[in-house]
Symmetry: C2
């Protein structure tokens, strides 16, 4: 057994269930905080658990450069290294190579690139990506793919998708099976229905433990993203978890869950937290705004996070004005808690078969009072 997925309840296209891995269970729909460099920025692992997260994502690209996968393996693997004893999903490195590194050369074999840290040259292939993720000890390994740029012509998108599919097969071939550890394939094909369908069919034929939708949240906008999900999701097997990579804002997540997505990751709640932006049930707030300077109220009523239970908006405002690190910690804590509360709301309402009502109610408050 690799990783298993049990669906407890469906409601329309939405489902709630449990993914079981070597390091424990993931309640779906799930949001994975991003721990790029073996730490969820500004948070202790204990704090991340307290927000309600079952799983985090870490980045192959960053870790292969520093401190290297080999060093992490020598230290007992990523879980032990970063003191996170719950599931970890690692991406394949493909996306970051495209977005962060310099002097990329893409061949059939893989990608040659220069580190954004020191310019030294690296090789990343499907086989090497599998090896790195194995060394890290990821519960969920992602197949190595090329992230198709956006916008792109259909011809280019097809060429890129076909390369990713050959790399998906090589990823599968070199992935070392272990109990409780799984491999997910990634559907590409940009915004072209036929390509998305072909990609999904190819991946199903290869056979994966889960299916991700890649190449979205790259500037296409929510409407187009939902459109892609509308014609892509029906081609993904219902019995495996489906993961929408790099998404998103609360309303993106809600729309994707309504379309049958089970897993998400995004830097938004952590990055926003470090830059004074809070996600609340009344929409986004920039706590640096002068109107919060003397506001004695909690950031959000009824939020269980420490930023809301123990401090005023005035104090959070002060921390950012004074450039105190605790500000980033508390706002990250809040944002991650807000995201996890949203996921809990989605799970509960799917179980009660009223996810559409939950979504409508949430969005009405969230968007209605948007500042």
């Amino acid at each position: 057994m690799t990783v298993s997925f049990t669906i407890k309840q469906a409601d329309g296209a939405s489902r709630t269930g449990i993914v079981t891995t070597a390091h424990g269970e993931i309640r779906t729909p799930a949001f994975m905080p991003v721990g790029t460099a073996a730490t969820v920025k500004a948070m202790t692992p204990e704090a991340v658990v307290q927000t309600g997260a079952d799983i985090i994502l870490s980045n192959t690209y960053h870790l292969m450069l520093r401190p290297t996968a080999e060093l992490i393996a020598k230290m007992g693997g990523l879980h032990k290294f970063m003191n996170w004893n719950n599931p970890i999903l690692t991406d394949s490195g493909g996306f970051q190579v495209m977005s962060l590194s310099k002097l990329r050369k893409i061949t059939e074999q893989g990608v040659v690139f220069r580190s954004h840290l020191d310019g030294s040259e690296y090789n990343l292939t499907p086989e090497r990506s599998m090896e790195i993720q194995h060394l890290l000890g990821s519960d969920i390994t992602m197949a190595f793919d090329e992230c198709t740029p956006f916008p792109v012509s259909e011809g280019e998108a097809e060429k890129s998708m076909q390369l990713s599919m050959r790399w998906a097969q090589r990823s599968k071939d070199s992935f070392i099976k272990r109990d409780g550890y799984g491999l997910f394939g990634i559907v590409q094909g940009s915004v072209f229905p036929k390509l998305r369908e072909q990609s999904a069919d190819t991946l199903k034929q290869i056979g994966f433990d889960g299916y991700a939708v890649g190449g979205l949240a790259v500037g296409e906008g929510q409407e187009l993203m939902f459109e892609v999900l509308d014609y892509t999701m029906p081609h993904l097997p219902t019995e495996h978890p489906r993961y929408l990579m790099g998404v998103g804002k609360p309303d993106d997540i809600i729309g994707a869950v309504l379309r049958g997505v089970d897993m998400f990751d995004c830097v938004i709640p952590t990055r926003a937290g470090r830059f004074a932006r809070a996600y609340t049930d009344e929409g986004e707030k920039n706590i640096r705004n002068a109107k919060f300077a003397e506001d004695p109220r909690p950031l959000q009523e009824n939020c269980p996070c420490p930023a809301c239970t123990s401090y005023s908006r005035a104090y959070l405002h002060h921390l950012f004005r004074a450039e105190e690190m605790l500000g980033a910690t508390l706002l990250t804590w809040h944002n991650l808690t807000f995201y996890q509360q949203l996921m809990q709301g989605l799970r509960d309402s799917i179980l009660a078969q009223r996810v559409r009502q939950f979504a409508d109610g949430f969005l009405l408050k969230y968007k209605g009072l948007q500042e």
Copy 2:
């Protein structure tokens, strides 16, 4: 009753006891972490409590500029504002005005200075300092004094000390007495025995709830500092707490406790933590040092802090290399824990009347293996 002090045991000049304040008890000898801008940098208040700290220090100068004492009072006082429900000592602002602000004009009345933040002009007098500390709600208020520069001539030191003594009287006169809240006087006089004695005598005549030694840790070095303590401490009343301001490194603290000091504050453990410097029972370590890159051992054996119980030196090294905030948090956590463990060791060994042996044993290991 203002604040009370009960000595449980003496051992030579050292004593261990309890200072009781409106917000709880302080076990002495005590180390007060510094929370300059209403936060102990990089730490949550819960984490500060976990290190073993009974009391923190906060800075009048910083808080009067931002967010202002009036705002903090409106938010329910400093304890509530920063979510610290244990004792707080505030300094008087005098030291920071001298070290941080610009365009100072010192008169009999007080100090006129410009904010280091925005250049705007402020007035600080003994009466205003008392008012600010009252607005903040400090358990222990410090008298307003002029921090005599170092080195200085005896004549200058005497003039400065006499001014501080007149300000001490005005501080006492304007301090608003409340149950559980106390006012400490500050002995000045630089490195001149006669001046220190005169200053101590004047303060005793005015009458304070505790007596601080000021004007040290300003570049005079440990030997001279201990010399000043040797001839100053005998002039301070034994029945009140004695506080050595701005000190220090672990060996400074040990030497001062052996000379009868009960309370300390210093930015060293917090500042060092943010700059990758760890205080351990084997001396100081710079965790950025390349030799720690693959070191699987904890920072310090038998240390109860999370940096030591949950992570390797290799991971801490990685966090600083990757400029991750968690590095500052974990090393601050460790350093504060190390300081509090030292204070606990001093308290226990005074109780057992073997403080000299404890000090010798600690320093042998600490200095013997200094890197």
